[in-house]
Symmetry: C2
Subunit: 434 residues, 2 copies
């Protein structure tokens, strides 16, 4: 076996054996296959594809390149959720405490903001003191104590994925369904979970813009999860407008607190209940998805979910005073309310662009070294289907830089399209696939 | 413009502008685009292709990465030949003196042996003292004096090609028609020629095994040559059996001497006359291809071509005594005549395998650092269509290693297939394309 022959094989559209995939991943991870050969291979994979069993073998090789967390000492089911990411998607912050308070372990490894989307880790770190870089043994302690832990990918988890992901990022080989599948699943399987709920976003603010691609990715993820004997339920959900009304790190924590407090019952709440319900079902604390959703709602109404959130924040070093009294959190130097200059119904929101506005205001990173302004972001007053009058407030922009706000205002206005008649509102849950 | 966006563009099957190609080649050559990005790009080019104008732009960028030899001070036409390479293909050694003796300049930049095929430079270097590493100014002097010079690719000629070729070799991106085209044409155009004759091999001993691929490559080369206003004629020729009867570096020089002396009139002679005739026609010393061939034959009959060969060898430092008295050349320690154990007509020769036998005997390189044994090789006594009796000599193997001969004998026997009835002999010239 040698690298050139294997690259040639994939280039010519042939399928790898499990041994060949294992050879490639092991030799790349140990530096015996150089980057320039692996990137040619990645391009061949992107253009020629991989079968279900190749994808499973790739996932496995990446998984066993690192540690698999052993949670067998914790009695009870362990379930996680993965979202492909979008704008305003803060469901993890709501779901983890709901599901943990229902008696299921939720060991959650999350990522950082990428391009126009925010990242769960960045959001959590907007809570002063919150540590997402716990070691695996610290994580296990937190998980044991309160039923959930929210951390980042450690060096011990799927190091092959980390290496390969960096290379994909700079060689235009990100958008490959088998590569995305193996990247997601190798990390999720390393968490030591029994079940997984998938939230695959589709629409203008998602990485997968078309529903067709989203379904292809979903099927690939489900087939791979099943080949590892993991229970899985996938939701294809809307990302044609931001989820909820708050975008930006602390602003999203704030909206999550409001949902956990039972103060908001918007699309974010609806999706969080759906996903949490499915996790509760997979965790065998409900006999059906409906019963799971019902339990999820109760956990909010009873205040248990909010209490659980305080517990998690506290155990991970975060200052709970800001969770209890969020209005005490520092404000941005500049707050600008954007008024409409048109009459009509909003029928389209360029959600990618809205994500970029948030980044522009300081909530995201242009390069790896950029420092995030946790306070910055957008509060949406209007969404698709809303009847807007000239002069109405569309949204509020927050930033420490006035010039950034000026640019952001222009961008946000350009991102909206108006119609004279009331448009149909995009369906939140497009499809459920088991 | 940035590398990732451009890789993405080709990955998605879009065509590059001339500026984009120039950006890619310049930035790769200067080290601003790393190997791992360029290899992903090469794989995308291999799988998605390039248009005629992209290929021309690529050729041009690679050409102007180095020096273009200025031959305007030499009055008269400059014509070269390029062959895609095969087993026993020593036509360059015969053609250069024929065409130069007809009053046309032949500035020839050749390559080394690659895989199962020999290289003109290695063959020439089997002549004691012969220097293929002349500087550009030395080359020009030789060319001016005798009308031809046979050298290797210098550092000054198309350095981008040298860099890219090394990367293609280790990333399974050799077999791409636009990349092959740009690699060949950038070097040929740097020679400062007016016309080019192409010899595209097809068959079991060629790099392009199928005639369809050979025609595709030929068309790509012709279109590119024409976009640089170069006159071009292409021959698609047979490589289903070795060309001529001698394989191995000195053995091929020997056979060339015999052809130049008018002693051999085999397939090698026939092809050399065809190609030289076309060069004489492109060099405007004949009004038709037929007249060109006629002149080529005369140059052999009159002894002028052989004299010209002596002149070239002498000017490039080679010992002409071995050309005049080739039987004085050292012999291999072991010479083995292979006898047939079958009766029948040879109807198939695995020419790739025969090339590998020659390499095995010491005539080629397995790695870049291998030292070539110039004496080693094969003399074929039988070729396709020959009626062979049990006990007849099929060929003679020459090597300084007896164990290599034992292995080679086995391989050569396996490379031949016999039939009871006389098979048709592969047509030498399959197609002429102008």
């Amino acid at each position: 076996m040698n690298a050139v022959e294997l690259i040639k094989k994939k280039r010519d559209g042939k399928a790898f054996s499990t041994d060949e995939i294992s050879f490639l991943i092991n030799h790349y991870t140990t530096g015996h296959i150089p980057d320039y050969q692996f990137s040619a291979l990645l391009m061949a994979i992107l253009l020629k594809g991989m079968t279900v069993s190749e994808t499973a073998a790739l996932t496995n090789s990446m998984l066993i390149s690192g540690k698999i967390i052993n949670l067998s000492s914790l009695k009870g089911n362990k379930v996680d959720k993965h979202s492909t990411g979008g704008v305003g998607d803060k469901t993890s912050l709501i779901i983890a405490p709901i599901v943990a308070s229902a008696g299921i372990y939720v060991p959650m490894i999350s990522g950082r903001g990428l391009g126009h989307t925010g990242g769960t880790l960045d959001k959590l770190e907007s809570i002063p003191g919150f540590r997402t870089d716990l070691s695996l043994s610290e994580s296990k302690k937190v998980l044991k104590k309160c039923g959930s832990v929210l951390i980042g990918q450690t060096k011990e988890i799927a190091p092959a994925d980390k290496l390969i992901y960096s290379l994909r990022d700079v060689t235009a080989t990100v958008e490959s369904i088998p590569l995305i599948t193996a990247s997601i699943m190798s990390k999720k399987l390393a968490e030591g979970i029994d079940g997984l709920v998938l939230d695959i976003k589709t629409g203008s603010g998602a990485f997968m813009k078309s529903q067709k691609d989203s379904i292809r990715l979903t099927n690939s993820l489900i087939q791979t999860a099943k080949s590892f004997n993991k229970k899985v339920i996938a939701f294809i959900t809307d990302m044609n407008q931001p989820l909820g009304n708050y975008i930006g790190n602390w602003l999203e924590v704030y909206e999550s607190i409001r949902v956990l407090n039972g103060k908001i019952k918007n699309d974010l709440y609806a999706l969080a209940i759906k996903l949490a319900g499915a996790m509760i079902y997979l965790g065998k604390k409900a006999k059906s998805l409906q019963e799971g959703e019902c339990i999820a709602k109760q956990k909010i109404e009873s205040g248990e979910a909010f209490k659980k959130f305080l517990e998690i924040v506290n155990l991970q070093g975060g200052n709970v005073n800001y969770i209890i009294n969020p209005e005490k959190y520092p404000r941005s130097r500049f707050v600008k309310k954007v008024h409409s200059v048109k009459n009509g119904f909003i029928y389209e929101m360029n959600t990618y662009q809205i994500g970029m506005v948030s980044l522009e205001l300081g909530a995201g990173r242009r390069t790896k070294d950029d420092v995030i302004d946790h306070k910055a972001g957008i509060i949406l007053y209007k969404k698709i289907g809303d009847d807007v009058k000239n002069g109405d407030i569309i949204c509020e922009l927050r930033s420490d830089s006035n010039s950034k706000i000026t640019l952001a205002e222009q961008m946000i206005i350009e991102s909206l399209k108006f119609s004279k008649t009331k448009p149909s509102i995009p369906k939140l849950i497009k499809k459920v696939i088991k």
